[in-house]
């Protein structure tokens, strides 16, 4: 075990997998000599060479399009999009191409590409450096969408994504890059995709979340415990395909659910979670599913603290579920 920041854990996954598998290549903007604007690829260019750690021209459609072609021809590319907010120029390559290659070729052309990108707010980045685009990709059949919340998961899930036969949109909560530290197993280490993590057990309310808001949920759960409310906190880790069993089991136990994310509310992933809970655990519910989310606005610069759900808002929802 080593203690690492979140971004160090991401770096470690890339280094270990590049060492393990010569098919792994990285491509993106500023990832070579500069080591990435968040330093996730620091030193890899010197270690693995410019043919495997590729500084590309500034064009996201090119980065993802090129990664698709690499994957079709036997490489395991990891494309870095510098900020999730700049993934939209590559949107067509992701949703029309990457997501559909396996299906449209009936399995002849799988495209195992990982698209890594720093996501979410909390770094004073304004609305072009803070967005949470997960719902677009969850909505697109053929993609897997993952978002770790701890350094260990950051490493293990990224390694799993790089070995996965399907394309994975790997969202890294950038607010956590340097603010969160934790123990991370050294060397070969994988956290399988599709399995949620129980962060904390409780019998009164299920609090279902992922990414940076896992830490907000933990804070809220600790305060709720002082009030005598047991909160069962679930970190989904992989958003899609979802670990539905973990969600349903928890809600069957507690009878109450709060879904929490930073992304905007309308048609956000929380809406899907609420619908699934309603479909699969209706008779266990003692209260309507509560949503705690960002606002239906572009991400604001000056008011980002207000935009991102905090423990107080989560507690309000937990109490509303309890008092319904």
């Amino acid at each position: 075990m080593a203690t690492m920041t979140f971004v160090q854990a991401i770096h470690d996954a890339l280094a270990v997998e590049m060492e393990r598998d010569p098919r792994v290549v990285l491509l993106g903007e500023d990832i070579g000599k500069n080591g990435g604007v968040f330093r996730a690829t620091e030193g890899l260019w010197a270690r693995f060479g410019p043919a495997r750690v590729i500084d590309t021209p500034l064009a996201e459609a090119g980065i993802v399009g090129m990664a698709i072609g690499m994957a079709l021809n036997g490489l395991r590319p990891v494309a870095e999009i510098q900020f999730a907010d700049f993934i939209y120029p590559a949107f067509d390559q992701i949703v029309s191409e990457l997501a559909k290659f396996r299906y449209r070729s009936a399995g002849q052309f799988p495209a195992p590409v990982v698209v890594r990108t720093p996501s979410g707010g909390g770094i004073k980045g304004g609305h072009y450096h803070s967005q949470s685009p997960e719902a677009y990709f969850i909505h697109t059949a053929g993609l897997k969408v993952a978002m770790p919340s701890t350094p260990a998961d950051g490493k293990g899930m990224l390694a799993a994504a790089m070995r996965d036969p399907d394309p994975v949109i790997f969202l890294e909560p950038k607010a956590l890059y340097r603010t969160v530290k934790g123990d991370v197993p050294e060397g070969d280490f994988v956290v399988p995709l599709g399995k949620a993590r129980s962060v904390r057990s409780g019998e009164d309310v299920s609090l279902i979340t992922y990414g940076a808001t896992v830490h907000v949920a933990e804070e809220a759960a600790a305060i709720a415990a002082e009030e005598g409310i047991g909160v069962d906190v679930i970190d989904l880790r992989t958003l899609w395909p979802l670990d539905i069993d973990a969600v349903v089991q928890s809600v069957e136990l507690t009878g109450r659910a709060v879904v929490l994310h930073e992304a905007p509310r309308t048609c956000g992933f929380g809406a899907e979670l609420a619908a699934l809970i309603q479909e699969k655990a209706f008779l266990h519910l003692k209260a309507p599913v509560q949503r705690v989310t960002g606002f239906d606005t572009p991400f604001p610069y000056a008011l980002e603290k207000l935009y991102i759900p905090d423990a107080r808002r989560v507690l309000d929802a937990v109490r509303a579920a309890m008092n319904f």
Binding site: A61, I68, R102, R104, A141
Partner: protein, 358 residues
């Protein structure tokens, strides 16, 4: 910016000695047969669509020289990133006719399980990559695939097809730029058939030639007479060899004309004059090659009729063989979305399997 047009087959029926690929009589006849075959395939497919037996078709009539000339230049190991109009290239690259026809019907014989509309075929075993409807998306992908080969030291070339409309997309510029920067073994083959549906090439670019754009990306652009099968073959061969030998990418602009509609959903009389079509009809690539073969004593009326009849018969047989296959099974709808089926798709499959559930 204009660029000179490369022409091998001159108006008087002779061949420019500097561009003559030097093919023997047998090979010349083979190319002619393939061009005639492609036209027969188009005619049959259009009839099938008119009769309601297939839903849609995109023809290549008028572009046979570009299709057959460039497709014939490929080696078996080369990769093809086609557009929806390149069935001629696919057939020359080994794609079986029966697979192509089955894809038109989208039934159980279709290797891609009826997932896409007609003209969207693929074949991994022949390195023919899955066709996409969004125009020009295949171009950056071809660069990535070429990069992979170059990285491993393999000597394959990667040809990507698109239209004049495709040359306006962001993906075209992105791909050209990436290929130039990485010097990947790519050949970009633009079939400039003068129209993107109804919009003329003058609305796609303010330059006189699409090939000229290559200069801006640091590599070779060639403007070739796309109705001249020998010239197309020759310049494609050169470009592929350059690519395989590490000489970097080439952009080929084949100047041609789509004789028919854009697709079976299109009415070209709304945007093209009869005179214009007539002027291009005089440059018909099949007739032009036929007269060349006649001048060489390789073709006469009887032989030409035999070739045409054989082509029609082969297409007829393939249609008869493919059309009556059963439909794709309902539950195949949820297959191949992921390598392993997740719970939500298993649930949807269960629903599809219920009698009366669909």
């Amino acid at each position: 910016m204009d660029q000179q047009l490369t022409v091998a087959l001159r108006d008087d029926g002779s061949v420019d000695p500097g561009l003559d690929p030097g093919l023997d009589g047998e090979t010349l006849r083979f190319l002619f047969r393939k061009m005639v075959f492609l036209r027969a395939l188009d005619e049959k497919a259009l009839n099938l669509q008119r009769a309601g037996r297939i839903g849609f078709y995109i023809g290549a009539a008028g572009q046979e020289a570009s299709e057959i000339g460039s497709g014939f230049a490929l080696k078996p190991g080369d990769w093809v990133f086609p557009s929806y109009r390149d069935q001629g290239v696919a057939l020359l690259h080994g794609y079986p006719l029966s697979s192509l026809i089955a894809q038109l019907f989208g039934n159980r014989l279709d290797a891609t399980k009826g997932r896409q509309m007609p003209n969207h075929w693929c074949d991994r075993s022949r390195r023919i990559v899955s066709v996409s409807s969004p125009v020009a998306t295949q171009l950056p992908q071809a660069v990535g695939a070429a990069y992979a080969a170059k990285m491993r030291g393999e000597k394959d070339a990667f040809i990507a097809y698109f239209g004049d409309g495709g040359s306006s997309t962001g993906e075209f510029h992105v791909a050209m730029n990436f290929a130039g920067v990485f010097r990947t073994p790519n050949v970009f083959f633009c079939s400039n058939n003068q129209y993107a549906i109804s919009v003329p090439v003058s609305r796609q670019t303010a330059t006189g030639s699409i090939a000229a754009k290559a200069a801006a990306y640091g590599f070779r652009g060639i403007r070739v007479d796309g109705n001249d099968v020998l010239a197309v073959y020759r310049v494609t061969l050169d470009a592929l060899e350059l690519a395989r030998g590490g000489g970097g990418p080439t952009l080929i602009e084949a100047v041609t004309y789509r004789m028919g509609a854009h697709s079976t959903s299109d009415d070209p009389t709304r945007y093209r004059s009869a005179e214009e079509v007539e002027a291009w009809r005089k440059k018909d690539p099949v007739a032009r090659f036929a007269s060349h073969l006649r001048s060489l004593g390789l073709l006469d009326d009887a032989f030409e009729e035999t070739i045409a009849e054989e082509a029609r018969e082969e297409v007829r047989r393939a249609v008869a063989e493919c059309e009556s296959a059963p439909p794709v099974p309902p539950e195949s709808m949820v297959e191949d979305v992921y390598a392993e089926m997740p719970w939500h798709l298993s649930e949807q499959r269960e629903w599809l399997r219920q009698p009366g559930g669909r």
